[in-house]
């Protein structure tokens, strides 16, 4: 069966043979290729779907916010790449659609209130649950855990400043509120994936998807 893992492993074996790598380096190359291929396929999938629907900027706002925080704070994972592709893409596209739909209802005060509430929620959950690691690569060193927690909190503060500035400086632009809402959606989605309720929900969706996807 052609899977991302098998493709990456075969390619890494080929590179290892051609370049005389030892087993350790071949395994690192396999891991790197799996990440690169996974990101490329998913990125292309998301771009194609959002282009088709006409919400590329909104989906990119969701993607950049959630990816930036996720890199530092970690979060729940699906058990296979296929389920990750379906669930992750659906979440991003849906967040983009919702942000575009509710943006006409927003005004400056409501936006600022929403940003502040989101930032406070973010700080609380990051302080409590970040970094949320997984069984594939647990973070066991306490120094590293503290470092990732600090970096995640720093990200939340910087994100709040940037998003508040954008809301105030570009409020005349028709697409500002919808893009900011998309970023807030991506941020909250990532925060939710840190906490136990997020693990339970994604876990049950992952199990449900397992009936139709490998």
């Amino acid at each position: 069966m052609v899977t991302l893992r098998n493709t990456a492993a075969e390619f890494a074996q080929y590179l290892g043979r051609e370049l005389n790598f030892d087993q350790k380096d071949t395994e690192t190359v396999r891991y790197g290729i799996e990440i690169i291929l996974g990101a490329l396929v998913k990125g292309l999938f998301i771009i194609v779907i959002s282009y088709w629907i006409g919400i590329i900027p909104h989906v990119l706002a969701v993607l950049t916010t959630s990816s930036g925080l996720r890199l530092l704070s970690g979060g729940v994972h699906c058990s296979t790449y296929g389920r990750c592709l379906v669930l992750g893409s659906s979440m991003m596209v849906l967040t983009g659609i919702v942000s575009l739909t509710i943006s006409p209802l927003m005004n400056k005060k409501l936006m600022l209130l929403l940003i502040m509430l989101t930032a406070l929620t973010g700080l609380y959950f990051v302080k409590k649950y970040a970094p949320a690691d997984n069984c594939s690569k647990p973070i066991t060193k306490e120094v590293k855990r503290k470092q990732y927690k600090k970096l995640s909190m720093f990200f939340v503060i910087i994100w709040t400043i940037v998003i508040t500035f954008i809301t105030l400086a570009y409020r005349q632009s028709p697409s500002t509120y919808s893009l900011v809402l998309a970023s807030i959606g991506g941020f909250l989605g990532q925060i939710f994936s840190l906490c136990p309720a997020g693990y339970r929900l994604i876990g049950s969706i992952d199990n449900g998807l397992g009936k139709i996807l490998p």
């Binding site: 395994e27 190359v29 990125g43 530092l72 704070s73 790449y81």
Partner: protein, 45 residues
Amino acid sequence: MFKKIRCELLGSLAALALFVGVIGIKPASLFILYQPEAPEHLTDS
């Protein structure tokens, strides 16, 4: 000459994969909800 170019290309690709593999050891992969199984020598434990 083609052998040299091929070797350079494969070497660059392997270097990129090694780089991504080593920096991939973060709490989570960038924007994929799936975490490939990390090699033991790259993890903390």
